[in-house]
């Protein structure tokens, strides 16, 4: 029996899961520095020895991009850190990022055999460790940074480059676009990323806060992609300044769309346009991309209030709530209509939010935002109870009659989800969309209904995860290569 066997094995390695050094909560709510400090070499090696090196490693099944987890952990235990990173990079081009933000508890670590009786191997933390170690050494030239750049001196590569010296356009510089670009550059294509914002990274730069993903780390990963020969053009809103047809007619052999799910949803309740009501996108963009948390050093303002509500239960809600705390709010109420088990946020985020004093108001739903003289004053809510499971498999929340109550606040952040932004898709002729406005694309290849055009990431799947977007970018790169080489659609 599995459990018996694993029992025996775990007995052999009775090492507890190595905890992550963290800034303590009282301290960290006063700054925007990273919360989790990262393993030391000693921590990493110790944790790696917990791995049982299973014959049929189940963790790999749990990883959306099939990283050879078993091997990279083995390499760590042998202190072959560079090789461990190369092993990860075979499948994942953004390891320092995924090691930080992947929901490992639902992926690799969920499947880890140790998880049956004990805590799983800390795969994400190990991934982060080897990636950070390399980044801090500032050596961005891994053994794969060849590409088609001028300084490429390998003869055979050069030939290959000439034969495939074709131009590919990538729209959007989130994880999907960055990965697709990097993979195609490695294959010798001339790749240009077109990004609407003034910084590269998509959600990684405008959404996920500094305290969870330092922008320095992202910059280094971006530099790595650039070192492969990828050109990044910022301030380019495709659909406005250029259309996909312009690109296809002007020398680009193929186009990849990775524009994400960047349309904020509101609840459509009264009072939502009062001053002090933000979409999570706006709140986080002001803070992260525009650095409003450093106002007035940076010019962009953001509301700094004493009492604030965040509506939602996902990562976006947690990030908003924790940002509000750091911007000096005394009371941050996280209002969620279901209970904690249904929360889609990562466990680590929920834990961190609680430690930081975010007040969870569960089974509660706003029905109105009440203001005076144009500003938010209160949020009117009803209590909810859970009924039968809905299409998502989670129990459907239903309002309880007569349970209306008010919570005094000065600002609200709506973190109830995002949808597809029609700016690009509405200008692309012949691009089929789903009923909800996402791009219809083949799940394996990213092929869309428009010849030469591929898509992947949140603009296809709806708001999902970094690793899935990355995976989609990667498989699209394979399909683009095949299409451009054969011309077969």
């Amino acid at each position: 029996m599995v459990s018996e066997k694993s029992n025996k094995r775990t007995k052999k390695v009775k090492i507890r899961r190595t905890s992550m050094p963290e800034q303590n909560p009282e301290e960290r709510i006063k700054n925007f520095k990273e919360v989790a400090l990262g393993y030391t070499e000693e921590d990493a090696v110790k944790e790696s020895t917990r791995c049982l090196q299973c014959k049929n490693p189940r963790c790999i099944e749990g990883c959306p991009v099939d990283i050879d987890i078993k091997s990279f952990i083995d390499l760590i235990s042998k202190k072959e850190f560079d090789k461990a990173l190369d092993k990860i990079r075979e499948k994942n081009s953004l390891p320092a990022i995924c090691g930080r933000v992947c929901p490992q508890e639902d992926q690799c670590e969920k499947k880890c055999i140790l998880a049956v009786k004990d805590k799983p191997v800390a795969i994400g933390r190990l991934e982060r460790f080897v990636a950070d170690r390399k980044l801090s050494k500032n050596s961005i030239t891994g053994n794969e940074s060849s590409g088609c750049s001028e300084n490429n001196n390998s003869k055979s590569k050069e030939l290959d480059c000439k034969s495939s010296n074709k131009k590919i356009a990538i729209i959007g510089s989130g994880p999907a676009g960055l990965t697709c670009a990097g993979e195609l550059a490695k294959k010798g294509y001339k790749v240009t990323i077109f990004e609407a914002l003034h910084k590269t990274g998509g959600v990684l730069v405008y959404g996920i806060p500094e305290f969870r993903l330092p922008k320095k780390i992202l910059e280094k990963e971006v530099k790595f992609v650039e070192s492969l020969g990828v050109e990044i053009k910022l301030n380019m809103v495709i659909g406005k300044v250029l259309t996909i047809d312009d690109m296809l007619n002007n020398g680009y052999s193929s186009v990849f769309i990775g524009t994400g799910a960047g349309l904020p949803y509101f609840m459509n309740i009264p009072g939502e346009n009062l001053n002090g009501v933000y979409s999570a996108n706006e709140y986080l963009t002001r803070s992260n991309l525009m650095k409003a948390y450093l106002f007035p050093e940076y010019d962009t303002p953001i509301a700094r209030v004493r009492d604030i509500a965040v509506v939602g239960g996902g990562n976006v809600a947690m990030d908003s709530a924790r940002t509000a705390k750091r911007l000096g709010a005394k009371n941050v109420y996280l209002i969620y209509r279901r209970s904690e088990v249904e929360m889609p946020a990562r466990n680590e985020e929920i834990e961190h939010a609680k430690q930081e004093g975010i007040e969870f108001i569960l089974l509660t739903n706003p029905v109105e935002i009440v203001g005076s003289e144009g500003w938010v004053k209160k949020i009117k809510c009803v209590k909810m109870k859970l009924g039968e499971p809905d299409e998502s498999g989670r129990r459907r929340p239903m309002p309880i009659n007569g349970s209306e109550h008010d919570i005094d606040i000065e600002a609200v952040v709506m973190a109830i989800g995002q949808g597809p932004n029609p700016l690009l898709t509405s200008t692309a002729s012949g691009l089929k969309l789903t009923r909800r406005g996402y791009i219809e694309a083949d799940t394996q290849t990213g092929k869309t209904s428009k010849k030469g055009v591929f898509a992947g990431g949140d603009i296809v799947t709806g708001a999902a995860t970094v690793i899935l977007a990355m995976g989609a970018g990667k498989s699209a790169a394979e399909a683009i290569d095949k299409y451009v080489k054969t011309g077969i659609w």
């Binding site: 809103v237 300044v241 960047g262 349309l263 939502e272 007035p296 010019d299 700016l423």
Partner: protein, 297 residues
Amino acid sequence: MYKIVGKIKLAEGIDRFEIEAPLIAKKAKAGQFVVIRVNEYGERIPLTIADYDSSQGIISLVTMSIGKTTYMLSKLKRGDSIRDVVGPLGKQSEIERFGKVICVGGGVGIAPVMPIAKSLKNTRNYIISIIGAKNKASLILADEMKEISDEFYICSDDGSIGFHGFVSEKLNELLEDSEKSSDSDLRKDINRVIAIGPAPMMSAVCSVTKPYSIKTIVSLNSIMVDGTGMCGACRVEVGGETKFVCVNGPEFDGHKVNFNLLMLRQKMYLNEEKKALDLYEEKCGCKMLEQKNGKTC
């Protein structure tokens, strides 16, 4: 980086910049805008594309200095660069043969009215322009507007030039006159009013035209961040529905716009804006208002 290849002072506190942005110049249409960021620390602010020349690859922006970002802009010279310019954003103006169109521009709003009036003129509309400013010294683009107009009126709040009063008052006069006129065609012909300027002005214009049921288009200047429909900062209420100015607009049917909400939302960051400006003035050791009165920094 986007290079400033020309700069002209149009009036006290109002400058016109010519900026090298070939891709934007190629696609720009009347009614659209760009979002700019002056430097790495800067805010993203929207500015209307006042003119564009696709053969030269140049767009023109007209800015009025009212806060930190626009003051910083006003200090830039020919040869300097603006860190980020993104566009063209927003929907283009509806340009058709409407017949008679009244184009109303107030203050710096004259700049965005101009390309629309031009396009309408080129589409063989009869253009009646009413432009206004606080006083003679702050009036901009009068000659340019006169040139493209079939009828042309200037207003000033203090009477230092043209009609003494607001543009909305002049408009009211015109409409009343046409109503009284025995020539019934005169009034019937006015099929559209386009009004751009400060929110209170646009609101006043809409109140004037409403009783006459003349379709009135306004260009809303809500606070923005990305300008691509991603954040919702720019939301306004039009016909009882929430709209994003940056992608659904900036032009809307003025009779449906909730101007009170727009004006409240424009005040969201008054304290922060004041603080930013105070600190900036302290740093450069001068008062921007004094500078306006002729003293230099």
